[in-house]
Amino acid sequence: MKLTLFVPCFVDALYPQVAVATVRILEHLGHQVEVAEDLNCCGQPAFNSGCWLEARPVAVRVLDKLRDAETVLIPSGSCGAMLRRFYPELLAGTPHEAAARALAPKVFEFAEFLVEKLGVTDVGARFPHKVTYHDGCHSLREMHIHRAPRQLLAGVRDLELIEMKQVVCCGFGGTFSAKFPMISTAMGEVKCTEALATGAEYIVSCDSSCLMHVQGLIDRQKLPLKTVHLAEVLAAA
């Protein structure tokens, strides 16, 4: 299977270790990985801000570069949702709509791909920590990913998963976090309170953007918590 990895802009710039871990795991499983080196962003910030005209050129370029891809993997549920769920809407009524619809079923979030497409739930990782899992809202409600990351965590040796009581947004929301910083911060605080109540050392997620927000609060408030992307956990041994 030819896999094309789309590394989102913030993963490329801020969290390269997430994409490295993704590559490592896929290669470890015997797959050939190709990186869409020219692609940086899916255009979601402009799209979510209502600036669809500005988002379209980004989306069109993504479609063009991924035209020949068989399977597109994104280590981010949020960007995955943009390609799979929102491109057809963003480009509806334009000459690119058909390409957007053609791309959608080829797009997978990383954990979803491992479990649902490859049938892998154990990659031989070991992570001797208590963790809790944060569902990124786009992963959960646009990509419908709930089971896969949990199955993968269950396959990690010496890892204990303790679920939070509420499934709640971390408050990031892209440009929302800048437009309404105090609401966003309050939401992040609620998330941290939930995570702390589990007694976990780490918040694991498939979305680095959520973790960026939560880690920003953890650092500012000096909370006894750490964040780590699922791919990093799976690459640990």
């Binding site: 499983l29 050939q32 910030p45 979510n48 209502g50 980004v58 809202c137 409600r141 911060t185 609620v190």
Partner: protein
Amino acid sequence: MTAPATQFKAAARTLAADLRHRSLIQTALGKYEVKRDEMKARFQDWEGARQAAADIKFEAINHLDRYLEQFVARIEARGTKVHWASTAEEARQIIVGICRDRRARRIVKSKAMTAEEIHLNHALEQAGFKVVESDLGEFIVQLRDEAPYHIVFPAMHLTRGEIKDLFERKLGDAPSDNPEVLTMVARRVLRQEYVAADVGITGANFAVAETGMISVTENEGNARLTAALPRTMITLVGIEKIVPSLADLALFLPMLATAGAGQLLSGYNTLYGGPRQPGEADGPEEFHVVLLDNQRTALLADAEQRDALHCIRCGACLNVCPIFRNVGGQTYGTTYPGPIGSVITPHLRGLQEWKHLPFASSLCGACSEVCPVKIDLHHHLLQHRRTARAAKPVWWEKLAFRGFALLVNTPWLWRLSLALGRVGQKFHGLVKGTKLDPAYVWTQSREAPALAGQSFKAWWRERGRGTTDHGSTGRRTKDQGPGTKNQGSRVTSHESRIPEERPRRSDDGRHGA
């Protein structure tokens, strides 16, 4: 920024940081969630019930003309007078007119969000009538001279201590802060009002077309007294409250109770089919139904968002909304707060003036997930953003996103900006968290993430150069480093999996920071 946006931002800023408010609301809604889930579990198939409810409302809304005519014909056949109000102003005039014609002085009213929507109490008071809210929560917020906090729980933001103080101040009677004692105080006051009132005003949860009946759901019995004791009854109904048949209530009544309050059924569900009929012992002598449009037909004309008219006002979307839970209902400055309010207020009161509400969302989708009639709430917020910006672009935002598009679409520019960013962030500490900080909106309350010493793509390119058999085509199979599946054996050590090839980090090894 529009005046409502300024008001919203200021109030949100205060309440989001109010830890007492946060804990009060989190606790109250946490209890609701437990009860709601218990009741949902008693449905044989909750998801199936949601779909059935959505289908019924779809049918009703898409044939609203037919069902409204049927409803009117049936309810008028039993002597009810139906009034059509296109606007809030018309509805106010109709209701004030009825009260004047009856030479009424005192009015008792049960809970009705449509009445809040048209600011009915204010109009009635201006016209010289005394209006008393009979729902306990509404009674409390009326005494405080404020808008309901929540469409189902109007006084959920108040503690029993605050209510005791209020009763002491306004009613001169509050022996303790025990909820039962306080309820009895309110009841004594209200019982007098029912008897003295000339007109009773109610809202409606459903209007049944098939039988021409108004369905009212409540938990205190106050709506029944409001409807039954005064000589004249007026019911204000939004036209979207139509359901085709009486049997539909078998689904909607338990659904409303479950989604709205975590009850299997509400305390009282009453159908009103007309005024007192010959030979009947009780009921009002006159029954008026005011059907309110107030922009609902404009929303009906919007094919993309007309499912917002499915809303049964259960409040479930408010209860799960992390924005609502942090800023509270009154912050919105609208009749309908929370996700449904952010979807319909722009339709009811103008998108440009209220567009801040669709933007005040992380688009988490918790609302759409719980909506019992499956309104696609959070996607409607996205559509509002698009429509608002298309109609009235913000020049600096357009420019910024054009720049951003150029940046991410031009690989060398992206690399250059990362390099510049790495230099720039060395000096960030000088201004971090101050108003001079370009990232102040973030750093006022959160630490900013640091750019990694080496981006993923730089690492990828470097790794590509290290392997001789694959040029710079971007395609590689496996590197020959330790830890890959080179001997078909499972990797057992972290160090062997992601060793020195890991990109250089500029932080202390955590995900963020």
